[in-house]
Amino acid sequence: MTKPEQPDPSGDEIEVRIAADAAQLPMLRAITSAVAMRQDYDLDSIADLKMAVDEACSMLVLRAITGSLLTVRFTPKSEIRVVATVLSDSDDWPDTGAFSWHVLSTLTDSLEAGVSQGAADPGGHVLWIELTKRNALGDE
């Protein structure tokens, strides 16, 4: 899978690289919220996306190699697409039976996750998760 390596040429894309540490998640929540607000999502969808990014990144951070980076890319278009990746020692991902996965699928419109091979150096596995959230108003 090459999903994490597809930069979007549109000008709206935002990529954040941050320590793969749970202490950094409030920062990501704030950014997520700013992205969704500026797309004029309704308050329910903003809150859902915020929780979803929080949940997804929590799952990734848990599995990340200590001292590595969490990368989160936001692509706001007709829907907001979020792709988050970390480097992990394990390729045991994702656990779709976990409650977190259930939470994520409730909060999002689409959800996918997988593993791609990391670069030869430093090695490891790239765990990725991709989710999208549509503005609820678009459904009307």
Partner: protein
Amino acid sequence: MTTRARTKNGYEHLAPLFHELAALPQDDPRRTVLRDELVTGHLPVAEHIARRFAHRGESGEDLVQVATVGLINAVDRFDPTRGTDFLSFAVPTVMGEIRRYFRDSSWSVRVPRRLKELHLSITAAGNELSQQLGRAPTPSEIATRLGLSKDEVYEGLEAGNAYHSVSLDDMLTQDSDNTSLGEMLGEPDSALEGVENHESLLPLVRELPERERTILLLRFFGNLTQTQIAEKIGISQMHVSRLLARTLQKLRDGLLEEQ
């Protein structure tokens, strides 16, 4: 120039009033007059103490009010027959009141008054709009309703993140914990069946306070939106959002501990 007996602290002239007040029967109308005079006379003390805390980001006006409440309490509780002077009794009482105010105040981060008010009016407008629209409003709808710029609405929405867990709306809706939410909402326990697929989660969910559990179940197993849940429970969508985020965090931490 009036010559007051400013011997020690400038309030000596008020001291006899305490004795006069103490001597009056409980129902004497003059008690109110004396009490007012004592409170007014000592106001500079309250203002002085309030000023010392003003740099913490609360508005000075609020703090003076809180300090004045402390001062009134001190006047009411002071016993002149004990031999201590009023100031050494009043200062700790007023400071205590201000400390309590900081402790209880609902914002974990000092948020300027303007932002708090902005957040509150956005919450109110949000509630109104969701009633009218039958769904959660967008920031631009809120901006139009309140005659604000979208940026102001973004700012006010974000200010809500500084809410403490013991938030204002928590206090306002505390009563809902007394009436059983289970009764109010039908059988939320049937939704627990959904949780049973996640065995390790069940004990954690059962431990949650009733309101948090109900919100969790309605959102993730009943598939209601936050706005629909807010309406059912009688709190704001933003409050549901905060409670839900906190609950998920709690469950994550709990599951982690188990491993």
